[in-house]
Amino acid sequence: MSVWEYANPKRFMDTSARVLPWLAALAALCLITGLIWGFFFTPDDFRQGSTVRIIYLHVPAAMMAINAWVMMLVASLIWLIRRHHVSALAARAAAPVGLTFTLIALITGAFWGQPMWGTWWAWDPRLTSFLILFLFYLGYIALWSAIEDSDAAADLTSVLCMVGSVFALLSRYAVNFWNQGLHQGASLSLDKEENVADVFWVPLLVCIAGFVLLFVTLVLIRTRTEIRARRLQHLLLRERMQ
């Protein structure tokens, strides 16, 4: 019986090898068209001026930052229940990408709010919860790298991801509660699309698609690397044992 109860990585490696070039091309296409379209060909917002252009980076990044964590949660559950190594490695692969998207959401959110709040960083409830999410990502990645035995690492990080998700939701609610008096709500709420005029709407959708595709591409690349790293570790172990 092979020591690794793999979710047939062979099939995963083959299919991902075939899919990757297309995904990467499509992601690039969506990103470039969406950003250029949004940056150059949409009018200024009458209130926000040109800062509304930041929407094309902030909203997709913020959405992906949350979806990345949800994906990691699902992958952790699959690992705990079905012991598929690929899903545990996919969760590990997604974390740094999610971290980067959270950083992008934070920076663009802060820059966007600057004219309205007068400071480069305001403790707005939404931005603060992304800051907390950023800390969760840091903890998750740190735990993965701190444990040698990869099966134990997968189990422990899965538990952390589940507990972390509950506390992330709690923090999201607590931060709203905590910030009642400090700042009036942002005039253009950062996540909701419905109050965005339709001229901004289509390029935003393209950007969101671009970010989703970019996320999937990066996760596939990194998961393949994790699988290869796992196999390498195994071979090196054998060499030492011989």
Binding site: L57, T100, F111, L214, L218, T225, L235, E239
Partner: protein, 67 residues
Amino acid sequence: MDKVFAIPLPGFVDWLLAYLGKYAAQVLGSYMASLILLVAIIWLSLWRAARTKRALAQAEARAGGRV
């Protein structure tokens, strides 16, 4: 070669700043920061993928057919 670039570049920057109006700093700042971060994560992932692939190939070569 650089003459070709010299003319439109300053013109382009001035045009861009005018186009973005009052909040040019915010918009350019966030776009620059985001692009740097995106390039960083993409490059890091690709670099690590290549390095691991190479190390694995060597290990498999060393291990010969016995794998």
